[in-house]
Symmetry: C2
Subunit: 294 residues, 2 copies
């Protein structure tokens, strides 16, 4: 299978599973919350994080079907973070993936609750994984919780809120992005290994390094796209960083140095997984992600 | 030990554990989120849900220290739900337990994130329970997720939002409250049994019945307090239900019938646990809760 066939096959597993986990119609008057959750969760997107979960599971010799609950749980957490991030009291965004954001399509209270619902559903889904040893489930839930929590993604979000309308240092920005974007990408890599029951420390360290490098490269590319991208293609508002005087990698380093840094980090991610058997997909994935502006 | 000594002893276990789980100072600029989470989590309150967890664990012959992570996880979920409930786009409350609500003491974005952080910390804390079999941890996390999720508490919250400014039927109100308040109380009872490794179906059914009856009785009392209570004693705004023309048990049934129903439900809760050895504390607890207005 080529890279893009494999990617398509993974997404073809992930999307129906995700939709199924979020489809629990009750007829009791609160179905609106499942609608709102699915509106955001099924709005497309690259499915990068769940694809990485499946691919690290495969690389570690695991059954990727059994990794699906964890892959979907991570995507639910990613989706909830976008919904809450877009709220008026946070980034106040109207457009996401080419459609009105959740609080625009529904209302603010529903968006808060849909985010809460997706976050809770992530742990519900992970805890209900079938034919997976309980130890593996607990390990996966711990990875999800630690990386999504206050010492992970939420901590990064707090730093991000505190960084608006002021200039921050490159070190501060790196920490912010390491937490805000990096934690879930690193979690994806770890989850895949954990779902396969892998315990080899070298493999785990390489998986984590891949996630961290890729996460940072990916964020730098995102910042570049906010300057050079096209709203119609990206499906989201652009130029917001500059408008809010937000410190970004391009504002601190310049565009040229950003491109070099993203390329360097991508190759470091590639180098981290190269010694592992079955690395081909992950290498192509890394390179495809940071080529978005070229 | 008397009832009140036992209650005090339980709370003396719960509060330091809760504070410890939420104390992870990093020095990295996002400590504010732990502050906000602790501001709300350590603001007093009856600790009803975690106390019930410990007491059902004790009743089932379990080690209550090992139930602490689950008891605290449930209290974190309860606290997050209050923070998000108080937000301007939801109930827009300024006062909670005698102090400014989280979004008033901090800001709206921090309150959203502190709620998200507490919800995530609940699952982190549960998944990190020590000296507890993995099967038990998974079972407890499933109880937490199902009862807090879109088919549980969040579903109830959605119904509650939809019930503002219109008259709803008694059946609708019962369903709403069963989900919104009842699910976490039932979860408390189930969690205690699960933490002790109890699998006896009769005990579990009795525990669930106790939680459901108590949850409804408790909510009816809350509605009565909103009419007859005193803001200073309660530490929260009163008269809000009437002001927002919300359907409540007193508005549908009248005060006198509400008092009778609450008393009847309390006795049904008592009857559910009476056949179980070591029920004395739970019986007194139920009776103490619905005596708040008398």
């Amino acid at each position: 299978m080529t890279f893009s066939e494999q990617l398509k096959a993974d997404i073809a597993l992930i999307e129906p599973a995700l939709e199924k986990y979020l489809s629990r119609e009750t007829g009791e008057g609160y179905d609106r919350i499942f609608e709102a959750a699915k509106y955001s969760a099924m709005a497309g997107g690259k499915r990068l994080r769940p694809v990485i979960v499946l691919e690290f599971c495969r690389l570690c010799g695991g059954d990727i079907e059994k990794a699906l609950p964890f892959a979907c749980a991570l995507e639910m957490i990613h989706t909830y973070s976008l919904i809450h991030d877009d709220l008026p009291c946070m980034d106040n965004d109207d457009l996401r993936r080419g459609r009105p954001t959740c609080h625009k399509a529904f209302d603010e209270a529903t968006a808060v609750l849909a985010g809460d619902g997706l976050l809770t559903a992530a742990f519900e889904t992970a805890s209900a994984a079938k034919d997976v040893p309980a130890e593996t489930i607990v390990r996966c839930i711990r990875i999800l919780g630690e990386n999504a929590g206050m010492n992970g993604m939420i901590g990064g979000q707090v730093l991000d809120m505190g960084a608006e309308h002021r200039k921050i240092s490159l070190d501060e920005l790196r920490l912010l992005q390491k937490l805000k974007t990096g934690c879930l990408l690193r979690a994806a890599c770890e989850l895949g290994c954990a779902a396969a029951g892998a315990t080899d420390e070298d493999t785990l360290a390489r998986a984590r390094a891949y996630g961290e490098k890729l996460g940072l490269a990916f964020q730098i590319e995102d910042d570049i796209l906010d300057i050079e991208g096209d709203a119609a293609t990206l499906g989201k508002s652009i130029g917001k960083d500059a408008a809010s005087e937000k410190s970004t990698f391009p504002s601190l380093l310049g565009l040229e140095e950003c491109r070099e840094l993203a390329a360097k980090l991508t190759e470091e991610a590639v180098d981290a997984v190269k010694p592992l058997d079955g690395h081909a997909f992950l290498v192509e994935l890394a390179r495809s992600l940071t080529g978005r502006t070229r």
